[in-house]
Symmetry: C2
Subunit: 316 residues, 2 copies
């Protein structure tokens, strides 16, 4: 099968072995895949991953341990737990220490004609969600994770950053009963939110420490310090992106102002699917360009360019 | 009056002006004072403080806006809010942006014969608490703050560090219904806890990431990384001490493992007073030495020595 493989360098393979579904797994024909910042980090060496890249996708189930899934269009949760440890047993398989992660850790990803996944990771999709939208379910679920971790209701909330994740987090948070302000750098990106009635602002100058919750979606080394500068004493900063290097740390402010910092990663697919199906979020304005599978390597190059939002790859 | 004053250098003054109580304030004759790590940091230049040092104390009220306090023995909360801002109105005067802090920020402290304090900051002391014990109310209150911020009940909790604050935090946390382990470096200090039935261990080797809550009381730059290495995914790390420099930060682990980090500072005096009065904690084994007021500068020097626990200064 065709596959975009990373092994120290990027390779477009035409004859990569088609995976065989194991016990409890499904074989899925990939239809559409999305490029995430994590993919771009992996290409730079993050996680030391070797194999087929990609973890945002939708596809058609070709065969499955659960025959009710066969022929269904699905999205898939990316963490595959061992199913035996304490964390898996407690429902936190996303945190299983033995987990593999689709296209990120010990598991071939979705920039390929076929992928295998445990059936318990799969979510059938309603027809009202397009393939292009379905690719956003994984990052949108991560956006909904914030509300699972931090009380937002009645709070003054700030989303810092207007990149892909910032715009998804803003839309997810806007569905809660809070007072949301998004602070970004790009008028055209913030306009996507303003059209949906979300308050947005270029730069934080003169704002002071007024927010109960600040979500750092900057993806930059300086984002944490910027977020701290906006959080009130006893406020919460949610870290939503990993950043290779952070140098200017001031943990003393956490102590003096009793700030809470919460890391936030993968989230509930169901919330994302319900929001998309109900047209309560709009992800299509985030699509910068759709590439064909043959142009997958060019797609990854394009996704890394300044100002580019979401890049999709039409696989099937 | 006599006072130990810091103004770039330490001065033992014999004729420092006796403070005059303002509206709503009490004049207090200091009886006993304690030396805190923060005092030692201030001498190194932290906070840029100038004035009378010291913030842990008990004393006798000489005169007060509230006459019922006159003649009472008291301890005092160290943060003095403006009383007008949103944070003061919400009961968080400890976080008032205009606050002064006894012996730390814009307010003369307690290494002096007299100090003034707002009457609302004062807590009358029951006779069952000795002067020596009363000096521990402020740091012990800070230890009880942890339970105000983080759910401890039923949790696997680790206190990391066996210095003054570590031993207080351990004793405060041991009163909650949790499974506590204290990890330190000094058998003689950990023995203080073991005598009270608290599980203690030298070093964390081989423990892995098993704790729901880890309280960093190390006071060292490496403490945060050590605490992270003991916290389970989705666990909480409580930062209890400010450290001048922290270099080896790994905030990515916070995101990947969805760790929450909570800064923790001053706490509820009432909890500390109730625990001391009820003999539910024992702070006296932490007293290394009591100096006279005249030897106050020597006391500060002694407090900074390796292995020394709490140093007290008998003022009145």
């Amino acid at each position: 099968m065709r596959a975009i493989v990373f092994d120290k360098t990027l390779i477009y393979a035409k004859d990569y072995p088609t995976p065989m579904p194991g016990d409890g797994e499904a074989l899925i024909k990939v239809v559409m895949a999305g490029i995430c910042a994590t993919d771009l980090e992996i290409i730079k060496g993050y996680m030391g991953f070797k194999g087929v890249l990609g973890h945002e996708f939708c596809g058609m189930v070709v065969e499955a341990a659960d025959s009710a899934l066969t022929g269904r269009r699905v999205a898939g949760e990316i963490n595959i737990g061992c199913g035996r440890c304490k964390l898996c047993a407690s429902g936190a398989r996303n945190h299983c220490p033995e987990r593999s992660v689709l296209g990120i850790l010990n598991k071939d990803g979705v920039f390929a004609d076929y992928v295998t996944m445990p059936v318990e990771n799969l979510h059938p999709l309603p027809g009202s969600i397009t393939d292009e939208e379905a690719v956003f379910i994984e990052p949108l679920a991560a956006a909904f994770e914030i509300g699972e971790q931090v009380e937002l209701e009645g709070k003054d909330v700030c989303v810092l950053g207007d990149g892909r994740l910032g715009l998804l987090c803003a839309q997810a948070i806007a569905l809660s009963d809070c007072n949301l302000t998004v602070i970004g750098r790009h008028a055209e990106k913030l306009a996507i939110l303003e059209r949906r009635g979300i308050r947005a602002k270029i730069g934080a100058s003169g704002m002071g420490r007024i927010f109960d919750v600040v979500v750092d979606c900057t993806g930059s080394a300086s984002g944490f310090a910027e977020a701290l500068a906006l959080a009130r004493p006893r406020g919460t900063v949610v870290l939503k992106t990993t950043v290779a290097e952070r140098t200017d740390m001031n943990l003393n402010q956490l102590v003096i102002d009793e700030i809470t910092v919460t890391g936030s990663r993968c989230g509930p697919f169901k919330s994302a699917i319900v929001a998309l199906a109900g047209r309560r979020v709009d992800v299509l304005p985030l699509v910068s360009r759709i590439f064909s599978m043959e142009d997958g390597i060019a797609a990854l190059g394009h996704a890394g360019k300044k100002g580019v939002m979401k890049v999709l790859v039409r696989v099937g």
